[in-house]
């Protein structure tokens, strides 16, 4: 299978903290790659390296055969427009309506007119079941609704891959379901997704591959079935145990 994004020997330090310590990873077309690991393992940093929101100190990020480190600013912007990103805290533009949040990328990056961008945006809001909230501002939406608007915003750009950074961690437990439902729908469409999450149910039921990280390194890569029944790494066993305990 083709790789959409490949990481080669990626290292990133923040001050004295080594967030990523030599990571190699291939994200293949059509797969739902779920990244698990304790907090501080470097999962969010890894995700931001994939679209160069954070630049690696060493190593390469390769998107469709191009080394992102060697691109011009303009080329990099084009690559970013093809990589969707969904944030833990939604990061909706608070001065725009739900509809314009979805449309603005089409206008500013793809050069569309507002009117046609809004028509398209409406279709994506329908896709996440929020057509009736199009005129609402983020402050008038629940967390789950905000996250679904954010997903629609990423989708509207027709990206080749979507990166999810703990998309349900900031949500009320009762609102997690509606977001996961939308994500499952996307998975069923065969989209390429990388999901950092603590939702074990999602990882087990939807993911096609699990990557387990610890201390800035990929410790284990496995099929979900294998990972959840007999994880190889000692750290992974402990991590799973603690999560299961919390779930009960």
């Amino acid at each position: 299978m083709n790789s959409v994004i490949s990481l080669r020997g990626v290292v990133k330090t923040f001050g004295s903290l080594r967030a990523l310590n030599g990571v190699d990873l291939d994200v293949r077309s059509g797969e739902i790659l779920t990244i698990l690991g304790p907090s501080g393992a470097g999962k969010s940093t890894l995700l931001r390296i994939m679209n160069m929101l954070i630049k690696p100190d060493m190593g390469q990020v390769i998107f469709e055969g191009k080394n992102l480190g060697s691109l011009t600013k303009k080329e990099l912007r084009h690559v970013r427009s093809r990589i969707g990103f969904v944030f833990q805290h939604f990061n909706l533009f608070s001065h725009l309506t739900a509809l314009d949040n979805v449309a603005i990328g089409l206008v500013k990056v793809k050069g569309m007119k507002w009117q046609s961008a809004r028509e398209i945006a409406m279709e994506y809001l329908e896709k996440v079941d929020l057509a009736d909230k199009a005129r609402n501002y983020p402050s008038q939406l629940s967390g789950g609704q905000k996250q679904r608007v954010a997903i629609a915003r990423a989708l509207a750009m027709e990206p080749d891959i979507i990166l999810f950074d703990e998309p349900t961690s900031a949500l009320d437990p009762s609102l997690v379901g509606e977001v996961l439902r939308v994500m499952k729908r996307l998975a069923a469409e065969g989209r390429t997704m990388v999901v950092v999450t603590h939702e074990i149910g999602f990882a087990r039921g939807v993911a096609t591959r699990i990557v387990y990280m610890e201390k800035g390194k990929v410790v284990e890569e496995a099929d979900p079935e294998v990972f959840f029944t007999s994880p190889a790494a000692a750290g992974a066993q402990k991590f799973l145990r603690s999560i299961m305990e919390n779930a009960v």
């Binding site: 690559v79 427009s81 533009f93 990328g105 750009m157």
Partner: protein, 267 residues
């Protein structure tokens, strides 16, 4: 269900009644306060009038001069508002820029004008710079006031820019927007909304501060007040007139500001 509905209806009607009562009470309290204040003012005025014979006809006689003063103050304030806001915008953007040189220049500007008395800035501009460049009193006052207030506006707008959620900037970047697009369509629009209330406050300060232009004998309102006061001996009347006019001008401004704020308010 019907029982609950009925109970609820009674409750809402009671709430409505209480609401109406509240409103009436508030109206009553307000009118009472107003009457008391007017009475108090009259009392103070009358007791002063016993020792100081007020002569308001003098003020009326000089009304042409006062109108000139008002116009000059309005023109001076309006020109300075425009220029200082422009300076504030430019320097605030420089102040938040990643380019060190721009940042340092903006910091220097803010440091200089926030740490000098406006009076000195006006004197320096008119008798110093104005001498060399042959500036009129009016434009010297405009430039001094603009540079001075612009430093405060820089800080206000800078804090507005910094108050914009960095997550939104990250999201815009992830969509592929350019730095300029991010600034113009995400950061700037929100920063202005956040800065609006303190900016209005600064505009009000500007109108009041414009009275210091009297030191270079510009015929704005305060200067006129002084002239009328000294030449007619009706000093108290003249300054009361000046004070009331300033109060009116700043009140109109703060009313406009509140109107604008409401218009721009997000739900």
């Amino acid at each position: 269900m019907t029982k609950g509905g009925l109970a609820e209806d009674i409750l809402t009607s009671q709430l409505l009644k209480e609401n109406k009562n509240e409103k009436l009470k508030r109206l009553f309290r307000r009118s009472l306060t107003f009457v008391v204040i007017v009475l108090l003012g009259a009392l103070i005025y009358l007791s002063i009038a016993k020792v100081y014979p007020f002569n308001w006809t003098t003020v009326l006689r000089y009304r042409r001069l006062f109108i000139t003063g008002i116009l000059v103050t309005l023109k001076l304030s309006a020109a300075s508002m425009g220029i200082s806001l422009g300076l504030g915008l430019v320097f605030a953007v420089m102040r938040t820029s990643k380019m060190e040189l721009l940042n340092e220049i903006a910091s220097l500007y803010v440091w200089v004008f926030r740490n000098m008395p406006l009076l000195v800035v006006i004197l320096l501009t008119y008798y110093g710079v104005g001498n060399i460049l042959d500036l009129s009193r009016f434009w010297a006052a405009v430039f001094a006031l603009s540079a001075f207030e612009g430093a405060y506006m820089t800080e206000i707008i800078r804090s507005g820019i910094e108050a914009v959620d960095s997550g939104e900037i990250e999201a815009a970047r992830s969509l592929g927007m350019s730095d300029f697009q991010i600034f113009s369509s995400i950061v700037f629009l929100q920063a202005i909304r956040i800065s609006l209330p303190p900016l209005i406050g600064q505009m009000i300060s500007l109108v009041k501060d414009s009275s210091l232009a009297s030191v270079i004998a510009l015929n704005e309102l305060t200067m006129i007040g002084r002239q009328v006061g000294t030449s007619s001996f009706a000093t108290f009347e003249s300054y009361i007139t000046v004070a009331v006019i300033y109060l009116l001008m700043t009140s109109v401004l703060s009313y406009l500001g509140r109107f604008l704020e409401r218009r721009l308010m997000l739900p």
